[in-house]
């Protein structure tokens, strides 16, 4: 569906037509609140154009539900490919009649006394409220020393990487060992590439434990529902790296042990350049020990839950994770002349340069309390642990959108009543299921 010529005033402008923007659109429509959803490209642009070819979601399909669209495919345990995720979101946008305007790159959004002024490359919009749903992964956070890399080494970010054959022949340095870096290192090593992986703080979890998927455990023990205003240190919780995890049909583990088994050389966090020498942290053993300890603690929490819930007898017996084997001393120096390519998997950052600077904190982050921004009528959605631990999952943006739509409705009050339009075309969306090749 292509909406055109809708520049002008809307009660709400939503920026971004991924899962977050669409979930918000569903809830705004359900409340009869007039809105428009702007996207720089098409629906689910990032899933279609900014992910590597083999990527599947880390979360099983049952965690891909969207408002009004519970999962009803035939394999709730499957891991959707990025392309299938794009298809799912496109079908959802169509089914809910989301008022999406595609090809609308927002270049500026300002709060004025009257409300919000939103400028795209071609049009101008005004609104009472602005919902930022551009996601957490607009840019790769590349270290400052990247600019000083010796010439002749091709560099790509995890958002640009597609497949092993897209990189020049030879050795590859992958910087970062969270989900993206670990998966890319795994794929390159399986393609026969010599790979060195720089490992900083990371979160180790097994794909399955006692025969049950990690996300089913996390859901069952209530972890995914933990709220932003209840955890000890939300700043830290929001900064936690993604799980070292891969979604494959065989549900295999992906961790430093499996990577070392593929011949991947593990070095400490890449810290600085000295000519052609990359200096890596000597603290790798600590990172590994900490990750092993935390993973072990998580599994004990599952075991305790299993006993309390009377599930213990039905499950295979508890097991201990094997400690990650480490060389006696970490490699702290790498000669970069070995490498033909470097892949930055150093984390992602949202991009807010277009947003009213008054909405940002001193580090350029969007200041918010559970998604409610510091400026009147400003909301943000789709960031890690926005309101609950599963906020960054597809299924997590729905509840967040519900909360924020309610807040927005209350704040705007009567202003929305007389602009009531549209209806929910298909609340009980028949899910597109898991398209071919997803499980």
């Amino acid at each position: 569906m292509q909406h055109t010529g809708r520049a002008g005033h809307h009660t709400v402008v939503v920026v971004g037509a991924g899962q977050a923007g669409l979930a918000m659109s569903w809830h705004l429509t359900a409340r009869g609140i007039d809105h428009v959803v702007l996207d720089r490209g098409e629906v689910a642009q990032a899933w279609r154009r900014e992910r590597w070819d083999s990527l599947r979601l880390l979360t099983p399909a049952w965690l891909c539900e969207l408002p009004g669209a519970p999962y009803d495919g035939d394999d709730p345990e499957a891991f959707l490919t990025a392309a299938a995720t794009g298809d799912l979101l496109a079908a959802y946008a169509e089914a809910i009649g989301a008022p999406v305007l595609t090809g609308q790159t927002v270049v500026e959004a300002r709060r004025t006394a009257a409300g919000w002024e939103v400028a795209t490359a071609t049009d101008r919009f005004t609104s009472d409220a602005l919902v930022v749903a551009t996601g957490a992964a607009s840019d790769t956070a590349v270290p400052a020393w990247a600019a000083a890399l010796p010439p002749g080494i091709e560099t790509v970010s995890a958002l640009e990487y597609r497949n092993p054959s897209g990189l020049p022949e030879g050795e590859v340095l992958v910087v970062g060992a969270s989900a993206s870096g670990a998966q890319i290192a795994d794929e390159l090593a399986r393609a026969g590439r010599p790979v060195t992986l720089a490992v900083g703080e990371h979160v180790r979890v097994p794909r399955t434990y006692r025969g049950i998927d990690i996300h089913r455990w996390l859901h069952t023990v209530g972890h995914l529902e933990e709220r932003w205003d209840e955890v000890d240190d939300i700043v830290r919780a929001r900064r936690l790296p993604s799980f070292q995890l891969i979604g494959t049909p065989e549900r295999r583990d992906l961790d430093l042990t499996t990577l070392a088994g593929l011949g991947v050389q593990l070095v400490g966090r890449a810290m600085a350049l000295d000519g052609h020498r990359l200096l890596c942290s000597g603290g790798l053993a600590r990172e590994v020990a900490a990750a092993d300890l935390k993973a072990g603690r998580l599994l004990r929490r599952f075991d305790e839950h299993a006993i309390a819930a009377g599930l213990d007898v039905e499950l295979p017996p508890p097991t201990e994770l094997e400690p990650t084997p480490m060389p006696a001393h970490a490699v702290t120096e790498v000669d970069l002349r070995r490498f033909s390519a470097v892949v930055w998997a150093t984390g992602y950052r949202p991009r807010f340069a277009w947003l009213d600077p008054a909405a940002l904190d001193r580090k350029g982050r969007l200041a918010h309390d559970g998604g409610v921004g510091a400026l009147d009528g400003l909301y943000v959605l789709g960031l890690p642990f926005l309101r609950r631990r599963r906020s960054s999952f597809i299924s997590g943006v729905g509840p967040d959108a519900a909360d924020l739509a309610a807040h927005l409705h209350t704040r705007l009050g009567n202003r929305v009543g007389d602009r009531r339009r549209g209806r929910v075309r298909d609340r009980r969306l028949v899910g597109p299921g898991a398209p071919g090749g997803c499980g």
């Binding site: 400490g268 600085a272 942290s281 000597g282 603290g283 600590r286 900490a290 300890l293 006696a328 001393h329």
Partner: protein, 189 residues
């Protein structure tokens, strides 16, 4: 890990409330978190030196230790020195140990773990062919450092104690300086 019976305002001698208060204060006023640590070293004789530590800056102000503190450095008699103090690499081990130890006590206190005893044994291997200029492929400093903690606590499992030791490294200034590159500029005044 509850210890409601034994909890005191300063478990392990650590004033947790004051530390958490300082953390919050410095979160709200990041410029006050900028500290400068100082040391002044005088040559005494031969390889013997004496370092005095007295003032430091932070919280937007100048501060003094309760009294000036000194630490001597020297080389052992084995190297025809007088052994008036630890070797500088040994002082580095002491510095790392003191930093990790402070972290262990603090993290344990914050987690309600009451420590009975903690000991850290440190070793650093160095090939003297480096400092003596015999082999340019050998580095001057430690090839590696090993720290072994032995802890006894009233109310913590082995995994709890391992987690405390891991967290102490995560928040250690000296561990960071030894494991990660730090720009060092040496000038002649």
């Amino acid at each position: 890990m509850s210890n409601t019976d034994t909890e005191t305002p300063t478990p392990n001698g650590v004033n947790v409330a004051a530390l958490l208060g300082a953390r919050q204060a410095l979160t709200d006023a990041p410029e006050a978190a900028m500290f400068t640590w100082r040391a002044s070293c005088e040559w005494v004789n031969g390889t013997h030196s004496r370092t005095t530590i007295d003032t430091f800056a932070g919280l937007g102000d100048e501060h003094r230790h309760r009294q000036p503190m000194t630490v001597d450095g020297d080389h052992p008699e084995l190297f025809a020195s007088e052994d008036n103090g630890p070797t500088p690499p040994e002082l580095a081990l002491a510095s790392l140990a003191a930093c990790l130890m402070a972290g262990v006590a603090t993290v344990a206190a914050n987690r309600g773990v009451i420590l009975r005893s903690v000991r850290a044994d440190l070793e650093g291997g160095a090939d003297l062919q480096g400092v003596l200029g015999i082999d340019p492929d050998v580095r001057n400093g430690f090839e590696a450092i090993t720290v072994t903690f032995t802890l006894d606590a009233e109310n913590a499992s082995k995994a709890d104690l391992e987690a405390i030791v891991a967290q102490s490294q995560k928040r250690s200034a000296v561990f960071d300086m030894l494991t990660n590159p730090t720009p060092v500029t040496v000038r002649v005044a």
